[in-house]
Chain length 455, copies 3
């Protein structure tokens, strides 16, 4: 009895092969099996037309994918094209999202699902059994017309990261320009000082923390807006506006970009003492700090090593020392807390936590990180917002701009902790609705999760 | 034929819905399905009492969880309460450990298991089939009385981390106090020097490595104690004392906390040259090091740039230089090795290693990390344990306190490598028992693993 | 009816145990079950010989593994030995690759597969059902003779890492020796300067980046060679030479080692300002830079604080400043990009990406990292390759040696982007073959993936 060659290898244990059929190698290859995997590119489908007779009545499984250039919305999919070339065969699409490496190494957690499309239920069933035997999970995606969407699946390129990355880049460009004007252009214009050497490291290092801090606050702002909206509407059953919904869904990506910028900021900060400019600044400061030798007649010539003389040269600004000690310590603590958030974002760790643990790390520890970052920024700023010399071209110090959104978030969260608000919010989140709250019509269609496929 | 609405969507492909039933929206919603998911909070169960007639004979699946405040040991669970409200229905608990996100995104590795409790086997079977169809793994947890334990499952908050975190915090507080007394209080009391600026960064940076080092030694100490116990008892079949058993189970958390403290120590160390206090110290050192200009009559006035003069000012302590070079290098190597241990602790990587590989990294490389950390501490200490000036208020240098436990572990491991001990230990671990060793009674109950659930 | 004791616990819910059998505890334990798990070491198998009668006709599941010393190619496996001791029993090998921890905690993604070997298909089926019930995936590995290979599986010790690690160590030793000769030996021999203190940190820190950079280029070189080979042969259907095949398979390990060395290089670099030698160098530089006090008669005695005097001591080399700023910035960016590659190599993240996303990160971002590293090295070198003083013992500066392979890779990739080459390569990779290309004979044996097991 003819069984598919692949299923014979996987399911039988008798080890016997069918009798060697006659004909060309291609004809021999396709004559015995019931299921043929067509692993050729679209432009070579026609090379199989010579085998139309042998292929009649068999199941053709197409595993190909169009490239980004070829995948056009109104163009028929590879499977539809194959079906038009071989009308006597049944075309099934399967395995097109599974990479060659995964097919060889075996299924892993994220790559276990194999979408299957076909017009014939029996063909779908046969291929599903084969998928099961190989250790994957078949997912019925409907008729062959669905293949256009299925072919789009492996063409996605980190779709959830596009907007957050553009946001981060935009913030970087804005803050870099602002810091350039304040730290490089202003000294050049006003005092004719050449500070352009600051561009590669210094200005970058004052821009990155702004980006990281802003992004971190943008992770927690939508939650605050959502709570405010629920309080104002008096119900949790009204859908959020689309922009808020998308924002809530991209918090993880925004948070990870914030962490990445924070790490780069740390690396750049640690590079500061390695630079020649730093070395020269120190040496020049030491030279400037040297008390002048008052060259009087010999007996009265003071020595540098006498206490009085040494004290004149002794350099110490207690306030500056404390400022740096505190804000460096707060910065390290903020980075340490952010790293805990980043680590628990890893899929394998996130999956091993239950909801309460995940919420504790991401919400509670995350808010702690936001507060530490705010204290780090405030201590870095110290009194600089109130010193006139810090206003270049009447532009305020950069850190003042970054404090706006985070302080709003922290104040709002503090406000929502007040009993009057927290009790009401808890009631609303447990299902209570105020009278006259506009209801969201529940239809049986929406009882089920939006996505029927399991990906 | 009436089938559950959800199963119709998932299992049928005919797409036809039942005729629209009559009555209020709620009555319409509950009249046709056999299985109803009750997704309301406990306090709103009574709102369904009006539907008692329509719900009679159906299966109610409760997905709710009490909060930490509501979950009390002697209080009946949500499911038992629901069952008491609707005695004509069969209550099944399912999906209460699965977060809403997982239900929407689909099952991943750690979140695949769905505990199911019910008094009726047929109801359990129906719900299990539904769970299977959604891609999850149903796990039978027994009758409805088990729901109290099941409801406790998502309320756990990192239970394995409580004791290690308290231990780390306790060690930090102790060492911070000790270093404060030595580095800040002693100069203030004895020499009236104000070193309080050291509190945020310096004292923290001398405390964190002590905590990290002690925790690392506490990861390997229980293994040594267990080996000693097996050697002394002459058998491996006697259970360890409870405290040792718990200690052995928490080694991973203690190790990860040790790594976290070591990383923070590295970050604080790299912050040291960024501080103003460091800059001022360098400048003051340069000024102090300046040889005095002996202002004699002009012809005899020496110039600073003459070799003889410059050599007077040249600062170099060969021993100090070597000490720092060596202990910094050892510190980086120890941190690098610890990072390998931390990375292989990630679930996805740990699962891809076999036992021999995992043991090589965690035991062998871990011991290498302990030895490198010990050398780092010894080289940092150098001869300071023998210098009287290092004893503040007769308190020894902090590093001497930390060396105790690690040296015990290293010496013990070295001892167990001697043939007389290693051969005996290998025999015991392969099943040999010395005569008169107290046997642990093997009963058939204990043949099976303690946990029947697969979580 | 006698059922296996384990299956009774897992599959039945009636809770009843069989009547307590008579005899010694061992005889009682083995009399009722059909499947006995033999969890003893090989040398203790004979202790079960007394039970031969009770064991007759039952299934013995052997879970043991030989150690590395015991596992010899020509020695019979533990299962074959067990089968020879109990000819009346059926021996099945199962669970030998699953650690005790996994058996207790339950199956996770990488550890779900249980290889099963036996000569009897019915025995294999019974044990497979048990494996399924426990949540694992049974994999048929053939007859008992296959147990020698199966027993080798848990004895592997990171086989894919041996060659890359030896390669990295070899590169490290070579470059360390080269840098030692240039930076320590040459000053000692030529100028009698003692620079041996540089050995622990400085020389290591000039060696590690060379190793990291070379390894990174060796990740992308085989891809370039493979493309060149395909262009030259005019087909993609000829197998690559074995050495190239192995090289392509180990790119991930080589890349991760490169990243590890890059991180260590960053840590050592950040340690540079912490060292005493650095502090002394700065102080001595400040002292040397001090302008001499021209001790002339009092009225003409200049003061250090006068501008003219300060400018004499002012230290600034604009070119050196720019050089360091640029190459430090490029270094941080290169490390940041490499960290993205390392993070996406984690199994859980790699599995959540589709092929296009994975290829974007590993190929495109990886090439960006290679270009950034090359710019970092070139900027570090600046004009040093053209300064005669940099050639110690006629040996060129180390960075020039490292630039060879990466520049070949970058130029080749640039070349392959030219339309004449890129179009031809795309055609070949879509299946086109030039006339006369030597065909690789396709046999039906090779249609299927090489590994039938799913690991």
């Amino acid at each position: 009895m003819d069984k598919p060659l692949i299923s014979r290898r996987l399911m039988d244990s008798d080890g016997s092969l069918a009798e060697t059929p006659s004909g060309t190698p291609k004809e021999q290859a396709v004559s015995s099996p019931e299921i043929i995997f067509v692993a050729v590119f679209r432009e070579h489908y026609s090379s199989l037309c010579a085998l139309s007779d042998q292929l009649a009545g068999k199941i053709l499984v197409d595993v190909s994918n169009p490239t980004e250039n070829e995948h056009l919305p109104h163009r028929e999919s590879n499977d539809e094209f194959l079906a038009s070339l071989f009308p006597a065969c049944t075309v099934v699409e399967a395995f097109n999202v599974i990479s060659a490496w995964t097919r060889q190494a075996g299924p892993r957690d994220g790559n276990q699902q194999v979408p299957i499309c076909s017009d014939q239920p029996e063909a779908k069933l046969s291929v599903s059994e084969m998928v099961h035997a190989m250790g994957f999970k078949p997912v019925d995606m409907g008729p062959l017309a669905s293949t256009r969407e299925v072919e789009a699946m492996p063409l996605r390129l980190l779709p959830g990261w596009k907007v957050p990355t553009l946001l981060a880049l935009g913030l970087f460009v804005c803050f870099y320009g602002y810091n350039f004007i304040r730290d490089v252009l202003h000294p050049y214009v006003q005092e004719n000082k050449n500070k352009f050497y600051k561009l590669p490291v210094s200005v970058v290092n004052t821009t990155l923390p702004c980006v990281a801090y802003m992004l971190l606050s943008l992770v927690y702002l939508p939650g605050v807006l959502a709570a405010a909206l629920q309080l104002q509407r008096g119900t949790k059953y009204r859908r959020f506006p689309d922009w808020l919904d998308h924002w809530l869904q991209h918090r993880k990506q925004i948070g990870l970009l914030s962490f990445f910028c924070a790490v780069l900021h740390a690396l750049y900060s640690f590079c500061l003492p390695l630079r020649r400019s730093h070395r020269y600044d120190l040496v020049n400061l030491a030279i400037k700090q040297m008390p002048p030798p008052a060259c009087a007649p010999a007996p009265a010539c003071p020595s540098l090593s006498t206490p009085g003389f040494a004290n004149k040269g002794y350099l110490w600004d207690e306030e500056e020392v404390w400022r740096m000690e505190i804000y460096l310590s707060l910065g390290v603590l903020a980075l340490g807390t952010l790293s805990l958030l980043a680590v628990t974002s890893l899929p394998s760790i996130a999956n091993s936590l239950n909801w309460r643990e995940f919420s504790f790390v991401q919400s509670t520890l995350g808010f702690v990180a936001l507060v530490l970052s705010t204290l780090h920024t405030l201590t870095y700023g110290w009194t600089r917002a109130f010193e006139e010399s810090r206003y270049k071209f009447y532009l305020p110090p950069t850190f003042t701009l970054t404090l706006l959104v985070p302080c709003v978030v922290i104040l709002a969260k503090g406000l929502f902790l007040l009993p009057c608000f927290s009790r009401r919010l808890a009631k609303i989140r447990r299902g209570w609705e105020k009278d006259g709250a506009v209801r969201f019509t529940v239809s049986t269609e929406h009882v089920l999760p939006e996505k029927t496929s399991h990906v």
